[in-house]
């Protein structure tokens, strides 16, 4: 009967109930988005870093991968040393640079990645095949579109450009053998990948046997920390960071995002709490006569409170569920805007839906709603019956 009364009361004030549900839905959507934002980037980074199974990155001492132009010398020597560590499953060398491709009177410039096609962890082929021969490369959609080329075309490319003399250096004829989706590059960034030795040769003596960093995959079952320690001892001239360390650094760099998300999430929770408190308070004041009559005819105080709290809970539940949908929609929209954030991989999701976090946030909102309803309903149910009835009769 209490459920029936709660439902009938909500249905009786349709407009108010609907507006309250909308208010809670907006609050829930914002809370959900903030929860998704606070953990989304981190988890998205983790997924991205581990997507190809490489748990360790080796960069020039004191730097992070692609953080500076510094390179690691004697790359083949490092590969040899790493090959001697039995817990290591694969080593993927990566050299960064640029590639200028002449197209008629114009030049299309792209970021270039030199690597070993057999163990590379930077891209996935979407059309064609890996660049295995010295004169082959694969490119991103954006590069192919900008250069107006197709898979199978041969391109005139150079690794260096002297702006003073307007001359190219390290020129080669390269065959485009594939189209690739690059995992770590920014949205709409033009990228190509070619064999490491080819890029090293095109960059000239400065890049001879040098790489920007290595990615290392430990064997299944091997302790990543133990492998990290062995590498640090074997190759002291490199910095070794694990995915966990990288994530900690990401955390530090993105701490303001989390603070923002925490503050806005708390505000959303507060707004939801105040919304329900206000709604229940107004509802209780409006129905004081009904409430004290329920008490007068013998309905227990706790049951009156329960009936009113049920109304608030129903609004919170429906609002929270509506907020879930609304939050997902707004997150998708905001993600599409933030995907073009400069310098961040396009694959990063700012708002990552994680069911456990989402349900925790929405559960928190519902609990806040229940708590918000308890005080005003208890106050209403505790009014002195005779006095309130007399005042209601006079009023």
């Amino acid at each position: 009967m209490l459920f029936r009364l709660a439902w009938a009361t909500l249905a009786r004030h349709r407009s108010r109930t609907l507006l309250a549900i909308l208010g809670v839905a907006v609050s829930a959507a914002m809370l959900l988005d903030m929860v998704m934002l606070s953990s989304g980037m981190r988890e998205s980074f983790r997924h991205l870093l581990l997507v190809r199974g490489f748990q360790l990155r080796l960069s020039p001492k004191g730097t992070l991968p692609f953080d500076t132009d510094a390179t690691i010398a004697d790359a083949s020597g490092v590969i040899r040393i790493l090959g001697g560590i039995p817990e290591i499953d694969a080593v993927s060398p990566v050299l960064g640079g640029q590639l200028h491709v002449a197209r008629g009177a114009t030049t299309v410039t792209a970021a270039a990645i030199g690597g070993d096609a057999a163990v590379q962890g930077d891209y996935e082929i979407t059309e064609g095949r890996e660049p295995v021969a010295p004169n082959e490369l694969v490119a991103s959609d954006d590069f192919i579109r900008a250069a107006g080329v197709r898979v199978g075309d041969t391109l005139s490319a150079a690794a260096g450009y002297d702006a003073q003399f307007r001359t190219f250096s390290g020129a080669r004829r390269l065959a485009l053998v594939g189209r690739a989706h690059f995992l770590y590059t920014a949205n709409e960034q033009r990228v190509v990948a070619l064999p490491l030795a080819t890029l090293q040769a095109m960059q000239g003596r400065a890049s001879h046997d040098r790489v920007s960093f290595f990615m290392v995959r430990a064997r299944e079952g091997a302790s990543v920390d133990s492998v990290l320690g062995r590498i640090e001892r074997a190759v002291p001239r490199v910095s070794v960071i694990s995915t966990e360390v990288a994530l900690r650094q990401v955390d530090e760099r993105l701490s303001y995002f989390r603070q923002l998300a925490f503050i806005l999430g708390s505000v959303s929770l507060g707004v939801g709490f105040l919304l329900v408190t206000t709604l229940v308070t107004v509802s209780v004041n409006e129905r004081l006569g009904e409430i004290v009559v329920m008490r007068a005819i013998g309905v227990a105080r706790g049951r009156v409170v329960l009936q009113i709290v049920l109304e608030g809970t129903a609004i919170m539940l429906v609002g929270a569920l509506a907020g879930l949908g609304l939050g997902m929609l707004t997150a998708r929209y905001l993600n599409s805007i933030l995907a073009s954030f400069p310098g961040l991989p396009a694959a990063i999701d700012f708002f990552l839906f994680q069911p456990r976090d989402a349900w925790a946030a929405l559960g928190m909102l519902v609990i806040a709603g229940i708590l918000a309803g308890i005080y005003p309903s208890w106050r209403g149910a505790s009014m002195p019956i005779a006095v309130t009835l007399r005042e209601e009769a006079v009023g």
Binding site: T9, G289, G298, L389
Partner: protein, 232 residues
């Protein structure tokens, strides 16, 4: 009619604080009401008659004195006990009906039964029976807003009788009704009393007072006259 008093008040007093002033609403009333009797408490506004009714019904507590209903000290009951007492042993009818506007007539009558723990089927059957008793069998699905004042008061009486209380307390039950509907209400309350429920009404309505076997006059918080009516 049994001679055992079902209601007994002993030197009951009730004071209210209104700002710094103390209002002595009831100044020491001692009264006995026999089981099955019908009593009208009359008097000018503010004389303490509604307060006395509230004290008997356990929705207010006396400042001093004792209220005994059916052998139990109502004035000494804890809140939960008093609530249960009101649910099972007292029926209340108010001047303004005070039905739950969101519920149908039948659901309003079912509300106290649900609180008492009666099963859905039983209470639906009893609500049907009670609404038929008050002449509203065909209006059971209507909401209060779809009923006239007289019909709402009939539903309120059916609700008051839901858990078969020994005593029905009515505070100005005809106060919001026109003369014709008021007369119908008086007849209905008389029938409730004839069927065994002790009836105590507070009223300004002379017709309602005339229908009671006993009339208690109050003034300034005191009983100033108490007499039985011949021929009722």
């Amino acid at each position: 009619m049994s001679e055992t008093p079902v209601v007994e008040t002993r030197d009951v007093r009730r004071d209210y604080h209104m700002g710094e002033e103390i209002v002595h609403a009831v100044r020491g009333v001692s009264l006995e009401i026999a089981r099955g009797d019908s009593v009208a408490i009359v008097g000018p506004s503010g004389c303490g008659k509604s307060t006395l009714l509230n004290l008997v019904g356990g929705i207010d507590r006396p400042t001093a004195g004792m209220v005994i209903v059916d052998g139990d000290r109502v004035d000494a009951m804890r809140d939960a006990t008093a609530t249960r007492f009101r649910l099972l042993r007292i029926g209340f009818v108010f001047q303004r009906f005070y039905l739950m506007p969101a519920l149908s007539a039948a659901e309003n009558v079912e509300l106290p039964m649900a609180e008492a723990g009666m099963s859905g089927r039983k209470r639906a059957a009893r609500a049907r029976e009670l609404l038929a008793y008050v002449g509203l069998a065909e209006r059971r699905s209507h909401r209060p807003a779809q009923l006239s004042g007289g019909e709402q008061q009939r539903v309120a009486i059916a609700r008051a009788l839901a858990n078969a209380p020994r005593i029905l307390l009515a505070d100005e039950p005809t106060g919001e009704l026109d003369a014709k509907t008021g007369a119908e209400m008086i007849e209905l309350l008389a029938r409730v009393n004839r069927d065994g429920t002790t009836l105590v009404v507070v009223t300004h309505d002379e017709a309602l007072a005339r229908a009671a076997r006993r009339v208690v006059h109050m003034r300034d918080g005191l009983v100033v006259d108490d007499h039985r009516q011949v021929g009722v």
